[in-house]
Structure formats: structure tokens, C-alpha cells
């Protein structure tokens, strides 16, 4: 009966994929390949917008089943409270296991030693991440890094190999052809898998809008005390007090990336909705990291250097 009906109906061609459909399909494929090829993967979830997209993609990849991996956050202890609360709530809503490992624990163990109490803990996340990888024997870490973020990332593979010291060797990467990924490793080595490698910041925002994904409130415009320091806005917090001579202003701002308080700067904005953020992003004249990461401006090669040392 059903066959007859289906035969009678003239069959229209399947609709062509728009660019978000295509990016989504690719990311789901990558997530399923990690699950198929790796025995003990983990998904890095910070509560930031890129990893929020990853969770949505993981739902599309594996529901109604459970995720075939837990979630891990490497916490510097200096994250915005709104983001940490969001992280915990989102993991609970999904019913997935969230692991948190803290840079402060590494400091207590003596594996992280700060040069000064005020030093940014951001780069020390590498140590804590490698410790967590060893503790749980993870063979793959899924992350939300994108190739458009930074020069060194433009050449990184979707499945990026790390040796047993967690190091990335940019000159000796595995060739990656078609959509055939090679996740084979020896014990102690690790794969970093980046499902949204081919997304840009604008793609991420468009996807958030289309999927109506919830975000931590600091992504939207709010009034916050800041000081202006060499072209960037520095939020005034107990960790980042104003320096002598700097005037504190109340400015309407939003964060384009969220991370450690000491190295994440907001941009001036009145965008209160995702649609307004998309309009601003499409018209923006400053790259995401340039404006908002206080740690990447040090030198043109700074990200490449940190990645070689095991940074995500």
C-alpha cells in the first residue's frame, strides 16, 4: 500500500545543502569517526560558544544514544562565574558526565609554577590537560578550535597527532585526504580532533541562531567597568585591577570569546541578541583573537609556539 503511494508521487530531488547544513554534516561525520576509531575519547567543554556548538553537534551525531565520551573542562580557576554556572547546567541538562580538572590542582602539585601571582594561567592549561589525559588514559580530545582563528591553525589537520609529550609538530603532520581520517596511535600518544575546523566565527554565530542555542550571558551586551589599555578594553576585576593613571569607564560591552579572566577582553557593543551579534560580526573590522585575546598579541608566532608545547 505504502509502496504504491510512494511510487505514485513524483520524486523531487533532495534539497541542496546550504553552507550551514554542509558544515554541520561534516562536523557530525568527524564526531562519529572519533567515536568509531578511538577507544577512549573526551570532548573539551568550556562553556564557550564553540564548544556549545560541539555539544549540539554531538547530540545530532549520537542521540537518542548517550555520547560515547565524557565532557572535560580544564578550569583555570579564573573563569567568569556566569560561564562556570552555564557549563554545569548544560552538562546536567544533557545528562552527560562532566569532568573538571583545575590548574589550581596542578599548582598545588607543583607541576605548574607561576612566575608571579598575577601571571595569566591560560598557557598553563596545557599542563593540566596533559595530566588529565594521563589520568584517564584518553586517546583523543575533541575540541572546538577553528582554522580561521589564527595563522598557525590554518594548516592544522582535522585529526591532529600529538606525540607522547603532547607536542604538535607542524612540519611533520600526517597527510589528510578526502574525508578519510587516520586516528591510529601508539599508547601514550594522542589525537586532537577538531570537528569545526572549517567554520568561521560568523558560521558559529549563524549556527547558534539557526539552532537557537543558549549561551552564557556575557556573550551579550552588558555594562561593565573597563579601562582602555593599548587599544583593547580590559575588564576591571579583582584579578585585573586598573593600573596607575588608568580611568575606569562604564561601557556597554560583550565578549566574543570567553576564557580565563586575565586574558579575555570584551568589545564595545550594544548587541543584545544573536541576530544583532551576527550583524556586528558580518561588519566587523577586527579579527576575533586580535581584539579579544590579551595573550596572542605577544608575537606573530606565539600560538604556533604554544601549540608545539601541547596547548590546545
Amino acid at each position: 500500500m505504502r509502496d504504491v503511494l510512494l511510487k505514485d508521487r513524483a520524486r523531487a530531488a533532495a534539497p541542496a545543502l546550504d553552507h550551514l547544513d554542509w558544515l554541520e554534516a561534516e562536523a557530525i561525520h568527524i564526531l562519529r569517526e572519533v567515536a568509531g576509531q578511538c577507544s577512549n575519547p573526551v570532548l573539551l567543554f568550556s562553556g564557550g560558544k564553540d564548544s556549545i556548538c560541539l555539544l549540539r553537534l554531538a547530540e545530532k551525531a549520537f542521540r537518542p544514544g548517550r555520547f560515547p565520551f565524557p565532557l572535560l573542562h580544564v578550569d583555570t580557576g579564573h573563569n567568569y562565574a556566569e560561564v562556570v554556572a552555564f557549563r554545569d547546567r548544560r552538562a546536567a541538562e544533557l545528562g552527560e558526565r562532566l569532568l573538571v580538572r583545575s590548574v589550581e590542582d596542578s599548582m598545588a602539585r607543583g607541576t605548574v609554577v607561576l612566575k608571579s601571582p598575577g601571571e595569566s594561567r591560560n598557557k598553563h592549561q596545557s599542563v593540566t590537560l596533559l595530566e588529565a589525559i594521563a589520568e584517564f588514559a584518553f586517546d583523543a580530545c575533541i575540541g572546538g578550535a577553528r582554522r580561521d582563528e589564527e595563522k598557525a591553525r590554518a594548516k592544522e589537520r582535522v585529526f591532529s597527532f600529538r606525540d607522547d609529550f603532547g607536542q604538535w609538530d607542524p612540519k611533520n603532520q600526517r597527510p589528510e585526504l578526502w574525508n578519510l581520517y587516520n586516528a591510529r596511535i601508539h599508547p601514550g600518544e594522542n589525537i586532537r580532533a577538531f570537528p569545526i575546523s572549517n567554520w568561521t566565527e560568523l558560521d558559529v554565530w549563524q549556527y547558534i541562531a539557526r539552532e537557537q542555542l543558549e549561551l552564557p550571558s556575557i556573550y551579550f551586551a552588558h555594562t561593565r567597568p573597563v579601562v582602555r589599555r593599548s587599544g583593547t578594553l580590559v575588564p576591571v576585576t579583582p584579578l585585573t585591577p586598573p593600573r596607575g593613571g588608568e580611568a575606569i569607564e562604564q561601557v556597554s560591552v560583550r565578549f566574543r570569546t570567553v576564557g580565563d579572566v586575565t586574558c579575555t577582553a570584551p568589545v564595545e557593543s550594544v548587541a543584545g541578541t544573536v541576530e544583532q551579534i551576527i550583524a556586528e560580526t558580518a561588519a566587523t573590522t577586527i579579527t576575533e583573537r586580535g581584539a579579544t585575546r590579551l595573550d596572542d598579541q605577544t608575537s606573530e608566532a606565539s600560538m604556533e609556539q604554544r601549540k608545539k608545547e601541547g596547548y590546545f
Partner: protein, 426 residues
């Protein structure tokens, strides 16, 4: 359960995504062309531009060097060359583009094959003053071999050739003379100056004799991925979802990406290797039910009968099935330092399936510069040759010419776990 969805509304604004490859040598102005595409499509942002100006000044250059936008790694900056494939992104508002920027040197054939493997279109740069060179032939040959459907020959540096139509016409004739025997059919020619910006995004007014589209117009109108020839349905199973919860007690979802063709609810399908036939009961994307789904989509298929299916199996249309075979012949591009020799054993990764392979013969090496074949024996790094394999387990394959997904595989060295070869099934 969930309601059937109406067909999506026609989307006039979004023309999908196009992946293209740029190839040329250091001197052809490839980096300048990419810089120009990014710059004129307003994809370079203020702080990146400021870095660019600073670096250009530091190197004693008068004008901003657009080529600096594309050299990423420290080692490359030091040596002033490009040693690896880099991916760049820009969007025109109607279409998103992914550029694979491949280095031009002969010793980087493997990088070009890598970049070409995912491209729908290749831009081959020719210096207007130098014309068709050995490397032009090499790049065209590789692009064709790797199955890129559309080639664009961009005759660059027209500003240094007096914007002369004669130069352009001669290059066009030279190119067609060598391309025809290769079987290259869809090839377009555009005179450009990446440096001055003529015919890239803007037409400029220095090439009035050229009436064709600008490079950007050509990119905007090129058919998007997988939208051309009708293909057979191929669905390699990546993951089987059996939640075994109270709510989803008997749920068996077969998860994967439609590599080619399309599928609708009610369609008959065949499962490989078992050969069992059944019908599609539902096509899911999270909580959506799709009446049909086409090439490129990642979905979950529910089938009418209980069939034993695991990762590595393939669900296909029963009318034209792939060959189920333990012997394959392929054109192989060798990627590793240590050569491939007959008798060598490797792991083959094909779609979602993995098996062991023995090299039974290397019939010949393809000289991609001179378009001739030489005796086989072994394949060194960057060689491309015809290789026969015997497999431990069968693969479900189509010829690469007809299907870039089920016709492609990689070879992995079991000792090092490195990816050492790229194969295209004949």
C-alpha cells in the same frame, strides 16, 4: 512520534559552499591572488591588515604585500616558501568558500594531491610572460587525476604583459593542445592581474577585449559540491545506535554520511557485505524526520527489518551496487619517505572500513611532467603509479572516476601509524 516536516523553503541567499584549490609556483603570484580575493571580498580585517602593513614595512617593501597573508608557519616565513597545505575562508554573502592553498614545488606533489582531494574546482596560475610550463602541465594533470571537475586557468601578471590579448590567446592555445589528450574538458581561461586587481573581483578597465566573467563571478556560478552527475546511493555505516533504554527499547539507528546519491523513506536498500535487502523506514536528524536526504548529509537511517549491521558495512541502492572485492587496482600517490615496493603490507582505510593490503605489483609510474609512463618497480615519495593490491577483507568499491568517495582510500604504515599513500581505484 515527530511530525513529517514540510520541504524547506527555497533559500535564495545561500548558494552553499565551494571548495577550491589554488596551484602555481612561488613566482606565479598565487599568494597575491589569494590575498586579493580575501582583500577585495572584504575578508581581511583591520588588525590583520595592520600586521600586514607592519611586516611589509619591516621587509623594506613600499606597498602592502598581499602574499604575506597566506604564509602561516614560522619555518615558512623564515624560508619565504610554502611547505604545507593551508586552508583559508571567505564568504561573499551568498556562498562560503574554502581555499586549499597548495605549494607549487615539484617535491610537494603529495601536498597538491592532498589539497585536490576535497576540491570542486582548481585555479591554475600561469605567468602571462612565461606561458605554459612543465609545472602547469603537472598541476593540471594532478587536478584531473584527482577528479576535480572544473579547471580555471588564470593567466596572471597581465599588467607585466601590457594586458595583451595576443599573450593570452597563445597561452590558451598552448594549454588546450596538451589538455585535450588528457581528457580535460571543463576548462576556462581568465586574464588577470592579482597585483593590480584586474578581473579578480573587480573587472578594472584595462582588459576591455575580454568579455567573459571575472574570477569571482566564475566561482559564484560554479555548481556546488555533488550537484552535478546523478550518483548511486552509498551510505557507509559509521556508528550503530542502540540505546536499549525503556523509551528506545528496540531502536536501531544506522548512523553515517550519505557519500553519494540520495535516499527517501520507503526506498529499497541493500546491505553489504550480507547482501540483505530491506526498506528505509525513517531518516532522522536528531528530532527531525526527513522525507528524503541527499549527498553530503549526515543522518540516521532506520530500516524496516532487523538486519545485523555494524560499523564498516555499507547501505547501498540495490539497482547498481558497488563491487565487493578483495583485489583492487589503483593509481597511488606515495606520500612517505621510505618507498613503496611490491610485497609491502599496509592498512587500507576505505570509507569507514579498514583492512590489510598486500602490494602485488607496481605496474608503472606515471610521469606527470611528460605525460608518459615509465617502468614500475617502486614508488618514491611524490611518485604516482598504478598499483595492484590483494586485500585481507573485501571492500565495497566504485571506480574513482564515477565516485570520489567509494573510489578513494588511504594507506597506513602499521609500524609508524603514518598515512603513507593515497589511492584512487581504477
Amino acid at each position: 512520534m515527530s511530525a513529517r516536516e514540510p520541504l524547506p523553503e527555497a533559500q535564495l541567499e545561500d548558494n552553499g559552499l565551494l571548495r577550491f584549490l589554488t596551484c602555481g609556483s612561488v613566482d606565479d603570484g598565487k599568494s597575491t591572488l589569494i590575498g586579493r580575493l580575501l582583500y577585495d571580498s572584504k575578508s581581511i580585517l583591520a588588525d590583520a591588515l595592520a600586521t600586514l602593513e607592519r611586516t611589509s614595512r619591516k621587509r623594506g617593501l613600499d606597498a602592502v604585500d598581499l602574499s604575506l597573508l597566506t604564509d602561516g608557519l614560522q619555518a615558512e616565513r623564515e624560508q619565504g616558501i610554502t611547505i604545507d597545505v593551508a586552508y583559508r575562508y571567505f564568504s561573499t554573502g551568498t556562498r562560503k568558500y574554502i581555499i586549499a592553498d597548495a605549494p607549487g614545488h615539484e617535491q610537494y606533489t603529495r601536498n597538491m594531491v592532498t589539497a585536490a582531494s576535497t576540491a570542486d574546482l582548481a585555479i591554475i596560475l600561469v605567468d602571462a610572460r612565461k606561458g605554459v610550463l612543465t609545472q602547469t602541465r603537472r598541476h593540471s594533470h594532478i587536478a584531473h587525476l584527482v577528479g576535480i571537475p572544473h579547471l580555471v586557468v588564470a593567466v596572471n601578471k597581465m599588467d607585466l604583459a601590457d594586458y595583451s590579448q595576443e599573450f593570452f590567446d597563445r597561452i590558451r592555445q598552448d594549454y588546450l593542445r596538451f589538455a585535450a589528450p588528457l581528457g580535460i574538458r571543463d576548462v576556462r581561461f581568465i586574464p588577470i592581474s592579482a597585483l593590480a586587481g584586474d578581473m579578480v573581483v573587480e573587472r578594472g578597465n584595462r582588459l576591455p577585449w575580454y568579455k567573459g566573467p571575472t574570477l569571482m563571478e566564475l566561482l559564484e556560478s560554479s555548481p556546488p559540491a555533488h550537484n552535478e552527475a546523478p550518483e548511486q546511493f552509498r551510505f557507509p555505516v559509521q556508528h550503530v545506535c542502540r540505546p536499549r533504554t525503556a523509551e528506545h527499547h528496540d531502536y536501531r539507528g544506522y548512523m553515517g554520511r550519505i557519500e553519494s546519491g540520495e535516499i527517501a523513506i520507503g526506498d529499497e536498500v541493500q546491505v553489504l557485505p550480507s547482501g540483505r535487502k530491506t526498506r528505509v523506514r525513517d531518516i532522522r536528524l536528531l528530532d527531525r524526520c526527513l522525507p528524503q536526504a541527499g549527498s553530503g548529509r549526515s543522518v540516521t537511517l532506520l530500516l524496516e527489518d532487523e538486519v545485523d549491521i555494524s560499523r564498516g558495512d555499507m547501505i547501498v541502492s540495490p539497482s547498481r551496487t558497488p563491487s565487493v572485492t578483495k583485489r583492487i587496482e589503483a593509481m597511488v600517490c606515495w606520500l612517505a619517505e621510505s618507498p613503496m615496493t611490491p610485497g609491502g603490507k599496509y592498512v587500507v582505510r576505505h570509507t569507514t572500513r579498514e583492512t590489510k593490503a598486500l602490494v602485488t605489483a607496481i605496474e608503472y609510474r606515471q610521469d606527470i611532467n611528460a605525460l608518459k609512463r615509465s617502468a614500475g618497480g617502486r614508488l618514491e615519495m611524490n611518485d604516482i603509479g598504478s598499483v595492484s593490491f590483494k586485500l585481507a577483507q573485501p571492500l565495497f568499491v566504485d571506480p574513482y572516476r564515477g565516485n570520489r568517495s567509494t573510489g578513494a582510500f588511504i594507506l597506513i604504515d602499521e609500524a609508524t601509524n603514518n598515512t603513507v599513500g593515497a589511492g584512487m581505484i581504477v
